[in-house]
């Protein structure tokens, strides 16, 4: 029997969330006409195209149909960027509740097909911890966090209480990119460079900082999933290692080399060549890579990403298709 396929990187939005963002996202996030035909509207960040909702983002029935076509058994759905990090405390919490409640409802409606991971108002740690507990009680199997929170690093002290609460619950966390800090300076308005390149750097920088910061030494139960096959981390693994060896500044907070942390974290399979997937498995280990599709984003691809997983050697294929996800999400 084939191992059931579990998609750990797949998104759902909600109309109420979208309307709340339209109202309260400014000045940074603006909903306006999109160039990405056929989607009529896109979310822009500081004027740059940033995230284009597709119809599939709002439609669970459509999702299940597509999952059937692609032979994806279970989806662990999450919101995407800009998540709920806008509008001040009350709005941020309201946005989180809207999305989490909606996902909990979907899980009840499709108990064999849907699990979900919670979005939290991270900028308000008390509210975030309360919403974390409420979400877990409603069935959340993990947490989503963006790789930078309005420019702040996830290693900042103010987020520590939230991390502590997550660590205590031993929940997996999908670290998902947003536009990296410095985006306006780098000027990524043209060619959707935020999507092609910017997101990859947000994730890579976030994890590199965590490694050198000794973050994982502080949270022993923490299972972080680095989105998009680790951003660019697998390709840069050797570079991080030689920086650690040859630069004092990289060893001020930890004695463990980046290569150890790279085998400690998890990766999804949202990458688009078999060679890149093989490299993520080589660097992270076959027990640490999880099928993901990025559906229904314009570049999301349930079938293609699954075909690359299915082309792996047998033992790796089973682990990546679903066994690893089953284990870490306790499904």
């Amino acid at each position: 029997m084939t191992t059931p396929s579990i998609d750990v990187h797949t998104h759902m939005l909600n109309k109420q969330w979208f309307e709340l963002l339209r109202q309260h996202g400014k000045p940074r996030y603006e909903v306006k006409r999109s160039l990405d035909y056929p989607a009529p509207e896109g979310i822009h960040l500081d004027g740059a195209p940033f995230m284009t909702p597709q119809e599939g983002h709002f439609d669970y029935e459509e999702r299940i149909k597509r999952m059937n076509e692609a032979k994806v058994d279970l989806a662990i759905v999450s919101l995407t960027c800009p998540n709920v990090y806008w509008g001040g405390e009350a709005i941020s919490l309201e946005a989180a509740k809207i999305v989490n409640d909606d996902m909990a409802r979907a899980q009840k409606q499709y108990p064999d097909r849907i699990r979900w991971i919670a979005s939290l108002p991270w900028e308000y740690p008390n509210a975030a911890i309360n919403e974390l507990k409420r979400s877990v009680a409603q069935g959340a199997v993990g947490v989503m966090v963006l790789a930078s929170i309005n420019g702040a690093s996830l290693t900042e002290e103010r987020f520590a209480p939230v991390w502590k609460a997550i660590d205590d619950l031993a929940l997996p966390v999908l670290v998902h990119p947003t536009a990296p800090p410095g985006t306006p300076h780098m000027d990524m308005r043209q060619f959707n460079l935020i999507a092609s390149i910017g997101f990859m750097f947000d994730t890579s920088l976030c994890f590199a900082r965590m490694f050198f910061d000794g973050f994982f030494d502080r949270y022993p139960n923490m299972k972080l999933i680095a989105s998009h096959a680790g951003g660019t981390l697998p390709y840069l693994a050797g570079r991080l290692e030689i920086c650690f060896q040859n630069m004092v500044a990289c060893r001020t907070k930890t004695q463990r080399p980046p290569s150890e942390y790279l085998r400690h974290i998890y990766y999804d399979s949202v990458t688009f060549t078999p060679e890149a997937l093989a490299m993520a498995i080589k660097v992270g280990g076959a027990e640490h890579v999880l099928y993901g599709s990025d559906y229904p984003h314009n570049i999301g691809d349930m079938k293609g990403c699954l075909a690359r997983v299915d082309a792996l050697p047998d033992a790796q294929r089973k682990a990546v298709r679903g066994e690893n996800a089953k284990r870490i999400f306790k499904i």
């Binding site: 060619f191 840069l236 688009f272 890149a276």
Partner: protein, 329 residues
């Protein structure tokens, strides 16, 4: 086959002194607690100075020890600063210093010209002068004071480089937004920032159609293409599904990646293999990043030597000899 190192650095002490005098407040020279001389950019460590950067004799001794025959040297350091006169004069001095290194060691040293890109007319003048003095190519940093290499103001320089069929090493510097990116800790400029800078510059060149405008341009993407080989599939699917990525080009990005050249400055066998797979065996050239603190002539050459025989010879020196027209008979 002779070993040719296409990514290896020298800097004239006089040029660096001027850079520090003129580069304030962005560039500062400090000494760390560990006793290292470090240049910082916007408060974040940018480069650590090492003695062989200034000393050809030391370099040749290390090249001998590592089994490297020829070094195509280029500047690594703050390059774009000062008034037009100051900048042009300092860069003349820097190129002359390298030309003298090449004249003193004709069998071992070639050099890439630095140019005052922020003053395009002066850059074109200096390009001609440096070529007359023996420059075999050009080095450019991946952003010029925060401006894109594809910006129209630089077109006259690119046209002249294109007309001369010269290879260009696109080498990173700190990307714009160092402060916002929080690079002041853990040397993140070096670990990640430089990779961001090159990747963003070359991805922009691809989507902008820049490479189609300069048919003879030979771009070398530093550090094994930074992260481009790993992201090749992502660039292609963005092209396939996002109209904004097709505004200016009609060929998938992976095809452009085959038109680039790459060095081997990566520290993992699998990354080197992926770079060769994405770029092509005839497009990857040995490079060491010597004498930076993470430069490694010996280790990187060992990874090249571990390649299958046909790839090994191409990467060790055949590709570079062809690209730079270096006679290694």
């Amino acid at each position: 086959m002779a070993v040719i190192d296409v990514h290896t650095h020298m800097i004239s002490a006089a040029f660096l002194d001027r850079a520090i005098a003129e580069g304030r407040p962005h560039y500062l020279r400090t000494r760390t607690k560990a006793g290292l001389d470090v240049i910082t950019y916007d408060g974040a460590p940018y480069m650590t100075l090492t003695p062989p950067m200034f000393d050809y004799e030391l370099r040749l001794r290390d090249m001998d020890a590592a089994g490297v025959d020829i070094a195509v040297v280029s500047v690594s350091g703050p390059t774009y600063w000062g008034s037009p006169e100051v900048s042009a004069a300092a860069i003349r001095l820097q190129n002359d210093d390298m030309a003298a290194g090449q004249a003193a060691h004709p069998k071992r040293i070639r050099f890439l010209a630095s140019l005052p890109w922020q003053y395009p007319a002066l850059a074109v003048e200096e390009l001609k002068r440096a070529c007359d003095r023996g420059a075999v190519g050009v080095m450019v940093l991946a952003n010029i004071l925060g401006r894109h290499l594809t910006d129209a103001e630089f077109a006259p320089v690119w046209r002249e480089i294109d007309r001369r069929f010269l290879p260009v090493l696109v080498h990173p510097t700190a990307p714009p937004g160092v402060k916002e990116l929080g690079f002041e800790v853990y040397n993140l400029t070096a670990a990640i920032g430089f990779m961001v800078d090159t990747t963003a510059a070359i991805a922009r060149m691809i989507f902008d159609g820049f490479l189609d405008r300069y048919p003879h341009l030979k771009i070398i993407a530093a550090h094994a293409g930074a992260t481009l080989p790993y992201l090749a599939g992502r660039l292609d699917i963005c092209f396939d599904t996002m109209p904004a990525c097709r505004e200016k080009i009609s060929t998938p990005p992976s095809r452009y990646l085959k038109r680039l050249w790459y060095d081997t400055v990566t520290y993992q066998q699998e990354s080197l293999a992926l770079c060769l797979q994405v770029g092509g065996t005839d497009k990857v050239m040995y490079g060491s990043d010597y004498p930076h603190n993470i430069g490694d002539m010996t280790g990187i050459l060992a990874r090249v030597d571990a390649l299958p025989a046909a790839e090994r010879e191409a990467v060790r020196g055949t590709n570079a000899a062809r690209l730079f027209a270096i006679d290694v008979a």
